[in-house]
């Protein structure tokens, strides 16, 4: 038996009788087994597709139209390369966001840098629109402009979340390491860096989603370079709603895939976190 097996709760045993199963599904704070989670999820997906199909608004495209539009976009309008171009942009901006935000957040343990950390965090209230001009001057426009706008947008939120995570480390955790005889450098590594890694990964997960949410605005600045943001804006301009939804669904699927990969990385890099989380 592995240590993880030892943690399996009796509540996750397979449901057997009908009433017991119904109680698990409909009563508050119940733990469901994996098969039952899949069944419940499939039910909601089927319900969503049914509601969509039976929508009384005829101007909205139905599922069939969106699937056909997806085929047209993919095979005739090069949506694959556009998606790849956007993915590359987002991953590039995410890399820069992680490097900059971690440095800024960790700097919050030094009193001298705290005002800077606070200031960066507060910049999240600024929209990107008014910043395009100064960023264009600074980057020269094109791909660099998009990368840095996206990096700015994501970093302000990343720093807010991570600086808070660092701030919330209990004083006892530092004292405990000091009593063990650890140097301040070692304490920084164990308590601040390693101790908040799970939170950093969770924050990154949230920020990836924000990157996708900002992509239409950022790619709309320079449509000539393509990307799904530009694609969606072009289709929207011509009121091709089926194509717009097809792109949105492609973004959703790609976003979910990245989200899943992030969840796996948390599982691999921070296995202890799974032991502390209570699933309800």
């Amino acid at each position: 038996m592995t240590p993880q097996d030892a943690q399996v709760s009796p509540a996750t045993k397979p449901e057997r009788s009908g009433p017991a199963l119904a109680r698990r599904v409909f009563f508050p704070n119940q733990v469901l087994g994996q098969p039952l989670v899949l069944i419940v999820t499939a039910f909601w997906v089927a319900l969503a597709v049914t509601v969509w199909s039976a929508s009384p608004w005829s101007s909205l495209p139905g599922p069939g139209e969106v699937v056909r539009a997806f085929g047209t976009l993919w095979w005739q309008q090069g949506m694959g390369p556009e998606l790849f171009s956007t993915l590359k942009l987002i991953l590039h901006a995410t890399f820069l966001t992680v490097v900059i935000s971690m440095l800024v957040s960790y700097a919050s343990i030094i009193a001298f840098f705290r005002p800077v950390v606070e200031a960066v965090s507060k910049l999240r209230f600024l929209g990107l629109t008014g910043l395009v001009f100064p960023f264009t001057l600074a980057t020269g426009g094109g791909y660099s402009l998009k990368v840095w706008l996206l990096t700015f947008g994501m970093s302000t939120f990343f720093v807010t979340a991570m600086a808070q995570a660092v701030l919330e480390i209990p004083r006892e955790q530092y004292d405990y390491m000091r009593v063990l005889g650890a140097s301040e450098g070692r304490i920084f590594w164990e308590v601040v860096v390693r101790g908040t890694l799970d939170k950093a990964l969770d924050t990154l997960r949230q920020n990836l989603a924000m990157g996708w949410a900002m992509i239409t605005m950022v790619e709309g600045i320079s449509r000539a370079e393509g990307g799904v943001g530009a694609l969606i804006l072009n289709q929207n301009k011509h009121f091709h709603l089926a194509e717009v939804y097809a792109v949105l669904i492609a973004i959703l699927v790609l976003g979910l895939l990245l989200d899943y990969l992030m969840a796996i990385s948390v599982r691999v890099l921070c296995p202890h976190v799974l032991l502390q989380r209570v699933r309800r």
Binding site: A6, M177, V179, L180, A182, E190, H272, Q276
Partner: protein, 269 residues
């Protein structure tokens, strides 16, 4: 060191927290206890009601805080910088992202041990504390008692003369309580100079394993109002009273009497 030499000296310590005087003119000494033919460390109980300043005092003893006035020194009057005195916190903090074995290795390496030395000491301690089977577990997978044992073991990877324990008996069932009292005695008796200071309000457990009891309390006026910071109000030398180092102490007719007396004194603190 000779019998009776001072191992730990707290001299005229004053400490304020905001406007409140927490510790006032606090002084006590822990001396080397010697039993011919037996390696005997020291177990000192520090009793006091909640909020009296026990944890403040522990932080000063551990070197985490400096007193406003006064000194704390070790054998020969040597200063005790942070890291030289072990402290087991009440909540047994561990590194949640590291396994039990890794927690001990970090403690060893933080104290300058080589990787191989830290590993051999850590494995020996896990074996001694019956934690070998839990070496690959994360702290989240341990019971309260197991966490406590890991926290103690972590402090012992590097040999330290002083081990402070904050409320080591709180929340333990009778079996775990017996386990931890045996463990404390074992830790104290690993070396003649080893000194375990227990901060607790569990009078019975403290009496059963300590050789000295210090009662920490504040002075009150005739109306019962607190008029000073905490200092040592009473000292019980249990060795002198013939009530130390005895496995059958609870059977001694004198034990209920001293327990009653200490309880009475505790109520007045």
């Amino acid at each position: 060191m000779a019998a009776g030499d001072v191992l730990l000296s707290v001299e005229n310590v004053w400490q304020k927290l905001g406007d409140a005087q927490i510790l006032q003119a606090l002084s006590f000494q822990v001396r080397d206890r010697v039993r011919p033919g037996v390696v005997t460390g020291q177990v000192v109980g520090l009793l006091g009601p909640s909020g009296v300043g026990k944890t403040r005092l522990l932080r000063i003893l551990a070197g985490l805080d400096q007193p406003d006035r006064g000194t704390v020194s070790g054998p020969g009057g040597a200063p005790l910088p942070v890291g030289s005195v072990g402290l087991v916190f009440q909540s047994y903090p561990l590194l949640a992202h590291r396994t039990v074995l890794d927690n001990l290795l970090v403690a060893g390496q933080a104290n300058g041990l080589s990787a191989s030395e830290a590993r051999s000491k850590s494995l020996a301690l896990l074996d001694r504390f019956r934690l070998s089977e839990r070496a690959r577990y994360y702290p989240a997978q341990l019971s309260g008692g197991q966490r406590q044992r890991v926290a103690i073991a972590q402090q012992l990877v590097k040999q330290k003369t002083f081990l402070l324990m904050d409320e080591p008996f709180s929340g333990l069932d009778p079996a775990a309580l017996e386990d931890v009292t045996k463990l404390i005695i074992e830790v104290a008796n690993m070396d003649e100079l080893n000194t375990v200071v227990l901060v607790t309000h569990d009078i019975r457990s403290a009496l059963l394993i300590s050789d000295t009891l210090f009662m920490l309390g504040r002075d009150r006026d005739a109306a019962g109002k607190i008029v000073s910071g905490a200092h040592i109000q009473k000292t019980y030398d249990l060795v002198e009273m013939g009530l130390a180092w005895r496995p059958d102490l609870e059977m001694d007719p004198g034990f209920p009497a001293i327990e009653r007396e200490v309880k009475q004194a505790f109520k007045a603190l």
